[in-house]
């Protein structure tokens, strides 16, 4: 059985499309998305003199035609941002009222996940490729039922999913971050959640953990250190472990065959923890590159046969 695992694409439309095509391209049986699917930024495209003006990555653009407008919107979506058409008056109103921004963010996130699930149904329908999507700490709770409604996608969060003799258990909850995001738990509560999930697995040696937070001090969790002002220390050179101790301890205790992680985009890697292969494919979603792990599992022996980290 071949698993294709990607994570942390943060709204990048091109990465989602690549993810859906990866099953056929890499001959995978199961696609697993590890969460943090929704974008972090909205880019206003402002009406101006019959055209549009937009600033992307500190470069101003004046768009004269609809084709240019559509191309710019695609470029923004591929980067993981949401393009928002606004009038100058609307922009001024948004600038003065954070509630307007928050409401639109929510709309955009839900709308994009709806569209992504529709695309998944369209592309995966008629194939034997299974797809599991598990939201994570940066994803609002309202996207869970949208995923659950998709015909050809299974919701990972808190579900026990049999996979050809293995059992997949997922959670996108993470240990606390400086950003206080949607799904964060103190370590002891996270451990309780994990234990409850693992209790549903018939054979723990054939378990596959899909836990968004990487294990602590595993090299999969090395993130740039931040100072009190949320700025990089030493220009991003200083890396510190920020993973979950609960995740680490549960891996070492239960010894699943495979443990899939994300969360830390810089933490690309694969390590052995006890008998478990733990992987974090990392993320370069903003470049339109889909980083992923391809893992072949031996269904007879119940172990990892081979793996590869890719930049697709």
């Amino acid at each position: 059985m071949r698993i294709f695992f990607a994570t942390d694409i943060h709204g990048s439309e091109v990465c989602w499309r690549k993810f859906l095509n990866a099953g056929a391209f890499h001959k995978a049986d199961v696609l697993i998305m590890g969460g943090d699917m929704t974008g972090k930024a909205m880019v206003p495209i402002v009406e101006s003199n019959g055209g549009w003006e937009v600033t992307l990555q500190e470069q101003g653009h004046v768009l004269a035609t609809d084709d240019e407008l559509l191309a710019m919107e695609k470029r923004i979506r591929d980067r993981g941002y949401y393009p928002i058409r606004l009038t100058r008056d609307e922009l001024a109103a948004w600038s003065a009222d954070q509630a307007l921004v928050d409401a639109r963010f929510k709309d955009e996130m839900l709308r994009s996940v709806e569209a992504w699930m529709a695309l998944a149904d369209e592309r995966l329908g008629g194939t034997s490729i299974r797809c599991v999507v598990s939201p994570a700490n940066d994803d609002m709770f309202e996207i869970d039922p949208i995923i659950d409604r998709a015909q050809h996608v299974q919701l990972g969060e808190a579900n026990t999913i049999p996979l050809d003799g293995f059992t997949l258990v997922s959670t996108g909850w993470a240990n606390p971050t400086p950003w206080n995001t949607f799904r964060e738990l103190p370590e002891d509560e996270l451990r309780t959640r994990i234990d409850a999930l693992v209790a549903t697995v018939p054979d723990r040696s054939r378990a596959i953990f899909n836990f968004h937070a990487p294990p602590y001090a595993s090299n999969l969790d090395a993130a740039p250190q931040l100072d009190a002002d949320m700025k990089y220390v030493a220009g991003g050179q200083a890396l510190v472990p920020v993973g979950s101790k609960a995740v680490r301890e549960s891996i070492l205790e239960y010894g699943p065959a495979l443990s899939l992680h994300g969360h830390i985009h810089e933490g690309k890697g694969a390590v052995k923890l006890g008998r478990t292969l733990a992987v974090n494919p990392g993320s370069s979603y903003e470049d339109g590159v889909l980083q992923a792990a391809i893992v072949d599992l031996d269904t007879k022996k119940g172990e990892v046969k081979r793996y590869l980290l890719i930049n697709g």
Partner: protein, 604 residues
């Protein structure tokens, strides 16, 4: 038609981006941090004074100030090329991934073929197989290199493994030599420990200091960059204080004062009478030293002046080639401002250092005397690298801070100066193995090296196996370096191999906007297509020319005039190629297709 500008034109006072609270969004980073890293990498004391600013005697017609300026200008283009790569692929964070991603298909084949052809031809000639066989070997190298380049990731691995891993094993004893000459020997002399001076001057002493360096730098990797960054910043401030003290001393004292102080000190420390004039006389007799042009002399023949400065460039790059040493990640939601900040950090490293270097050579000429300064350097360097067997006039190197400290006839002050300048080494040495371990990690994640190479210890997250991968060869090379003057003479190979690696990345930067337009056009510097290409092309041509000089001109002690050097280089590149090919074959036997690593999945 769509138009672009560098300034936001849509409602300047209004926001151009709305962010929500999400993991990883940071408020940016300090450009000063990038400057510190770059400034310490382009290290005025440990690299500049130790080598590049000490070898003007070997190109006596080269204007020192012009040589420094030309080198700084050349490396400025390198900074632009690397800032461009960082802006387009920030998380990739290194030559290995940049080259692997960009040098695929035809560019990979061409780069592989050129490296292969040149390598096979040079090794064949070094083995004395004759011109005909050499040409045949070159043709074989062309094919072999081209085939390796055709394999996705092949060229990237060979160039990065040699430049960021293998050759850093050679830098370990070079660091050892620097520490020995700039710290242990001067201190031993100043405290009157003559046996120590002798020991550290011996082969055994060289090896011991190299082992100390290996242990120190491995320890700093274990400490982690988070801790080391704090040390580095303190070292920067203390180092600049030390430099200021030295500069003031050199400014207020006269050349006559210095001559008296040098004579007094060497009479006292080593029993050498009239050491100042004796050094000049000995250099003339033993080292054929006839003097060098003054730092500010430009000559009347502009072409000859420029030509001599260009000949100095391969020496200067030993010191100033590394402003990009800390190229790494800079966040997700970024703009062209980050590009400018990265570039400013590197340019600050280059140009502040170059300015201090010019101040230093001018003060050295004023106070030490330019004739003496070059005489004492050539007198010691010729002996140290085995160009002559005649002992130098003074048994320890004329380390500039030590020379300046002689102006104050107070041993404790002299000791304090040497210790204070030691921070230039401490703040610089920690990154020696850090870069190697990251490259080893990347190769392990790409399944070229065993997965164990990326393991870290449970308690402190120390990359134990990766450290062994670099420490063991470093110890082996340190033994060779300590006991073989022939091997010490290969010092510039350490720079050459890194320059070849950088050349691979500058080629990648040159073609990036045109070969990977989607990637480039989606970056914050999309409108800098032409400037990035032009700057990258210029530094590509400069590096290619400098590499040609290293390989062809016996002046540099490596290249075709030194069989050992070519064989050494052949072993390095050959070993990297073998590791890559064996890894591919082994992984294929496991059913792992390494080509899949970089295969782009279609989006539609």
């Amino acid at each position: 038609m769509e138009t672009t500008s560098s300034e936001a034109s849509a409602a300047p006072a209004a926001p151009t981006l709305f962010l929500r609270n999400a993991t990883g969004l940071v408020k940016g980073w300090s450009g000063f941090d990038a400057f510190v890293y770059s400034f310490m990498a382009v290290n005025l004391v440990t690299l500049g004074m130790f080598y590049s600013l000490a070898v003007f005697a070997y190109v006596p017609d080269a204007s020192p100030v012009l040589s420094i300026l030309i080198a700084a200008v050349a490396v400025t283009f390198l900074a632009i090329a690397y800032a461009g790569l960082i802006a387009v692929m920030p998380r990739a964070g290194g030559d290995y991934v940049w080259q692997t991603r960009v040098l695929d298909g035809l560019p990979g084949i061409v780069v592989g073929a050129i490296v292969g052809a040149v390598g096979f031809y040079l090794v064949s000639n070094a083995l004395g197989l004759g011109d005909a066989v050499g040409l045949g070997a070159g043709a074989v190298g062309l094919v072999v290199g081209g085939l390796l380049g055709r394999l996705r990731g092949g060229v990237g691995f060979v160039l990065a493994a040699t430049g960021w891993w293998f050759i850093l094993a050679m830098w370990a004893p070079i660091y050892g030599a620097i520490l020995k000459l700039e710290f242990f020997q001067p201190l031993a002399a100043l405290v009157g420990w003559s046996e120590g001076v002798t020991f550290f001057g011996s082969d055994n002493g060289t090896l011991v200091v190299s082992i100390i360096v290996i242990a120190l730098t491995a320890g700093l990797v274990a400490l982690g960059m988070a801790g080391y960054a704090r040390i580095q910043r303190i070292c920067l401030y203390l180092g600049l204080i030390g430099f200021a003290i030295m500069a003031v001393l050199m400014l207020v004292f006269s050349q006559a004062d210095f001559q008296a102080a040098f004579d007094r000190a060497n009479q006292s420390l080593f029993g050498v009478a009239g050491a100042y004039q004796k050094t000049i006389d000995d250099a003339a007799v033993n080292d054929a030293f006839t003097g060098s042009v003054d730092p500010l002399a430009m000559g009347t023949d502009v072409v000859a002046t420029l030509g001599a400065a260009v000949v100095m460039l391969p020496f200067m790059l030993f010191w100033i080639l590394y402003p990009n040493w800390g190229s790494t990640l800079y966040g997700e939601v970024r703009g062209s401002g980050d590009f400018r900040k990265v570039l400013q950090g590197m340019l600050g490293g280059i140009w502040v250092t170059a300015a201090l270097a010019i101040v230093f050579v001018l003060l050295a000429a004023k106070t030490f005397g330019w004739l003496f300064f070059n005489a004492t350097n050539v007198n010691f360097i010729n002996w140290f690298y085995g160009y002559t067997t005649t002992d130098p006039t003074v048994p320890i190197w004329s380390y500039p801070p030590l020379l300046a400290s002689y102006l104050i006839d107070f041993p404790l002050f002299q000791i304090a100066m040497v210790v204070l300048f030691g921070v230039w080494f401490l703040g610089w040495s920690g990154t020696l193995f850090l870069s190697s371990t990251r490259m080893i990690f990347a190769a392990a994640f790409d399944r070229i090296l065993p997965e164990r190479a990326a393991e870290v210890s449970d308690q402190r997250g120390v990359p134990v196996v990766a450290l062994l991968f670099i420490m063991v060869p470093a110890i082996v090379v340190s033994v060779l370096y300590a006991y073989s003057a022939d091997f010490r003479a290969l010092t510039l190979d350490a720079t050459l191999v890194i320059a070849v690696t950088f050349l691979g990345s500058t080629v990648a930067a040159t073609i990036l906007p045109w070969w990977k337009p989607d990637l480039f056009n989606n970056s914050p510097i999309a409108r800098l297509k032409v400037p990035i290409t032009v700057a990258s092309l210029i530094i590509t041509l400069i590096l290619a020319y400098v590499i040609y000089l290293w390989l062809s001109d016996p002046l540099y002690g490596i290249g075709v005039g030194n069989t050992n050097s070519i064989i050494f280089l052949g072993v390095l590149y050959g070993l990297a190629a073998i590791v890559y090919v064996v890894a591919r074959l082994y992984r294929r036997s496991q059913g792992v297709d390494l080509d899949a690593i970089h295969a782009e999945i279609p989006a539609d």
